[in-house]
Symmetry: D2
Subunit: 363 residues, 4 copies
């Protein structure tokens, strides 16, 4: 339950934004996997704030310290624990907010659940900062997967109403790497320019804007996943909704499929290279919850950052009356672009779990 997902591979996340440290326990990693820390840090850097004028100025060191599970750079089979110390906090920014829950944040629901003891400084355990340990787990999973020919990549598919291209039918590792190397993770840089202009404009208006992240995975064998509730979609969705701000998850054509015809949406099977494949991939690589061997394609809807600098209406919990709130401090006018590696990370962790489970349909 709670801050954990996975079956044979369990990812357990802990920490509050302004507590002593945040971290992750990854239980069930195969042993003997060399982890390239440079590559891992490069992956972590992709979600870091402060990369550009579009992100909050908070500096995160985010250098993970491995307390267990990794010896001499190689997984040893025991649960891996990685920790990132928290620094550079301005908790006083949040002192006034204790009584006035910020609209769109978990302040109020956490207060109801945990009472006045809830540590909501900087969003507490609900903070986007908790995606850093997720990226540690997912970055490790990505390395293990890529060694088996499974590649996971993502891009910012839209910001507001500005859309990037969609992934092609068969995205390649090279395409994933190319997007990952960009300062702004889109396929079409011109669309990226327009997105950034939109984010800047929102910022100037003391506002924020949402976006969609598209993620794909290639190289998975057909036959992974279980029917009904143990399907690939079920497990990915259960994990992806754990990323703060995600309000929708779709696979393949997703909601667009609901507007299409069967004759359009069905993917014809064809023999190609001696293998059964589909000519199109409206199903996003999943039929009946089970992988078809085609690329997995999914999209997550990220709501606009709830922290905006405009005055907002809220209540005073102590006084039990309406109140006004102005949020100070630094906040990203858009978090969708920083969520790109996070969606990759969570997807990779779930897919590694599925792969470890094997396709034990027959044995």
């Amino acid at each position: 339950m709670s801050s954990e997902f996975g079956s044979l591979l369990k990812i357990s996340v802990f920490g509050q934004s302004h507590g002593r440290a945040i971290g992750v326990v990854v239980d069930g990693l195969p042993a003997g996997e060399a982890i390239d820390l440079e590559e891992l840090n490069a992956f972590l850097a992709r979600r870091k704030p402060g990369k550009s004028h579009l992100s909050t100025a908070r500096r995160e060191a985010d250098a993970p310290v491995f307390l267990s599970g990794l010896e001499n750079g190689v997984t040893c089979g025991a649960p891996l624990c990685a920790v990132i110390e928290n620094g550079d906090q301005h908790s006083s920014d949040y002192d006034a907010l204790q009584d006035k829950p910020r609209p769109g944040h978990a302040d109020y629901t956490a207060f109801v659940k945990w009472g006045g003891q809830a540590d909501m400084r900087g969003g507490g355990h609900f903070s986007g900062r908790l995606t850093a340990p997720l990226c540690i787990a997912g970055g490790i999973a990505k390395q293990i997967l890529s060694r088996r020919g499974v590649y996971v990549g993502a891009h910012l598919q839209s910001v507001g109403t500005v859309a990037d291209a969609l992934f092609p039918l068969r995205p390649t590792k090279e395409l994933f790497d190319a997007v990952a190397a960009k300062p702004f993770p889109v396929l079409d840089d011109q669309a990226g320019e327009r997105m950034q202009a939109l984010i800047l404009e929102a910022w100037k208006n003391l506002d924020s804007v949402g976006g969609v992240v598209e993620c794909a995975a290639t190289g998975l064998p057909a036959g992974l996943g279980e029917p009904m509730f143990g399907g690939v979609e079920n497990r990915l969705a259960a994990a992806l909704f754990g990323i703060p701000a995600v309000k929708g998850v779709e696979f393949g054509d997703g909601f667009a499929a609901a507007r299409s015809r069967g004759s359009e949406n069905n993917d014809p099977f064809v023999m190609e290279d001696g293998r059964v494949q589909t000519q199109t991939n409206h199903a996003g690589g999943i039929l009946g919850g089970i992988t078809s061997g085609m690329p997995i394609v999914l999209r997550t809807a990220m709501k606009p950052t709830p922290s905006i600098a405009q005055p907002q209406r809220t209540v005073s919990l102590s006084a039990g009356e309406n109140a006004e709130l102005v949020i100070h401090g630094r906040h990203d006018p858009c978090i969708a672009h920083r969520a790109v590696p996070v969606v990759e990370a969570v997807t990779a962790a779930v897919l590694l779990d599925l792969l470890l489970e094997g396709h034990h349909g027959t044995f």
Copy 2:
């Protein structure tokens, strides 16, 4: 894993479309709950085929037999098992399909997973028929919830590009009942007429069409759900993707939130009737994965029925070469309207599970 969901309340579904019987085990139901079988059968009737010219002619008796857990119409605490015998099957319709997987169905992925032994007659365990036992479990959950003032309702929000109205800010039990009583489950009957025309047109063109189901739940206390991966969204999504044909799940504004501004998407807190409420409900009643006390609102995208009467391209698995396929037999040109009670059922089961768990944040 597999064909089961839930934590304290576990729903385990079994059966193949053309096997001897289908059924469900519901483990963890509270004892002492009287189940109104007439009301339950009326609920089950809502998903039944053959109600109109829009549905497959297959007659399903669907009268559940309770093997355990229900004595004298009252739950006794022990796991409840309900079974529906299968009858009226035309398995021969499917004999030719063993070798030629139907596009959009799980035939191929089940074949890869389970080999030639997979029982895919009528879709086997992946058939929409398996939603009948889900409705038994969910119909029981609905009755238990309603006794505590929690009501779950749904409507067909769109078919193809024809949209129904959305639920109002505070949908009522009366509204839910009114929609449930309609032969075509929409809020706006004129939209419903256009939807039915669209479905008929698709049918005439030997095609099918998808749709969106919107579901809401009222009366839940604030504070249910756990942070990150144990949230209400995570659990609902994990279960909802178990309904055949669901390719997307969103909460509150969902994907539309990704196109909006923070100033639009944030729900201002206000004091109303002495309680903290929100003026709007773009969050769909969930903040940080935890219920806010506002109505839960979610939507599921249902793809168009993959079984269409047009010739389709596929492969012969035995010959390893491309082939053509014509699907005979009776098939709904749209399953979204029949999915309305199924989405209600799954939602109700998950919410009862959450309610049983209680909001044990403090104790």
Copy 3:
């Protein structure tokens, strides 16, 4: 939770002793496994009452009906559901007991948990009769395991203070088969005679007697199981305590190890037949929770049948005062010998689950 165990292979048991039927859902069985129903029925017959003058006269048909998951005698991958109709019930025997909980039974605790709605006729869901569906699941698991060279066998290791021999260091399939074929499942028939005399004597004294079942499994590879809480011992114990009347579980030397020295209890490693083995097997084939490749050896302590014909002290729940109780009806004076196949069944199911999981330590 509740009436279910297993990870990738889930066994979910339902039914009450005097309800309509009892049964089991087995979710996660590999597809393509032929099940020999004659062999399965022979296995089920081993736990049946009424075999001798030592058992209750209740006749159980116990012929399982397969509702799903098994087509033409072969598993198809979908969840398997098997059901046994209940017949030959004398519920009136239990009518008077509703108010006076039987000592040693779950009557009182079920009443506290579930209130007056608890169906405790014949022990309800807590009845030993629920071990029949367990034996269906376990009997199937045994067949699948034996096809991979894994054999599970058990014998009655003691009744009261009369002890059978212990399994030898390397029990064989032939030994397991020989014990299984005996009307009284012991290694040493002379000990068996003394046990039966003891049971008869207890019966004549309107009393009952407990016993110990020893179970072994051979042919498992080394490396199965996870450290700490995912170990083979943890999982076996969690399942074995689900068998009614089990009050203790030990592995290898178990409690005797607590009385021994390290120099006696350590199993020296030796090379034999080119493989690492141990010269003794005080560890019962498990070190650090992980299989060593040596036979798994475990013992379960079964308490004496709580239903005895002597007058017993209890309370009247309605009157809130002390009362006397005389239990009528037919009851086994010892259930330990009938538990032998049940312990085998549960052990086999857990081991198949572990084997399906594979030893994914490295991959």
Copy 4:
């Protein structure tokens, strides 16, 4: 799976004996619970080595650092992570052992599972040192339980063949406290003297000796636990077998029940103080897996420390031939007395989990 247990309250343990740190994540703790760190440290001190001449000289600082979940000494609802840095390691002691697995340890099984990358210095993740984080989790659980009138205590019930008294029918908090305050945790100090003499004698003979820990819990309401596999015994056993060296678990009379008669083993119900109680407690407070309101009583068999100073037979994994092994370094000749607080800790954690779940039989 793996190094985690619990349902609503999850305890996830990480670390290797000679790695950088060991620790625990406790997910699902209620918020607002003040934790007395002095009391917690006093509890941790009870399992520490080096208290007497009977224990290994390794000094453990064992002062836990709380990275999350505890703010100003009060739980905040978010997952709690506590870490203990490792110091004072003599890893070189173990260098020679890499190739020669120590009998009775997990060296060989971990090698099979994880290959050469397994970090088995000091026992690695299988080390008794991992019980320190368990005690952090359990010590916190004990404080939360005691605030609700639930007390958990344990004593060393035997060493070798020397037995302490058993807990009385109704052990009190005062008795638990008195035993906990003793340097050697027994009820009968004369038995304790004989036990210590036995341990010393074993040590002088370069040997070790096993023992039994008895644990009890008072104050639990009746009605906790689920039938069959979700019972109190199942969950406690599943967790207790995670303590290194545990080879047997029994409840109430346990294995002795298998040697007794029904007329002796049944606990008569009686009205006392207006409540239903039992006159004896052979059932250990659990009937049908569900708490009866009487004290929970359990015992765990701890095998003798496998590390002994005598030469032992083993194999060289690289050479594939028999070999001799002498284990150097410091090792406890008995670990059972140090396991007393560990058994308390694990029991407390499981009982808190059950209590959080509530007795949701009716609601």
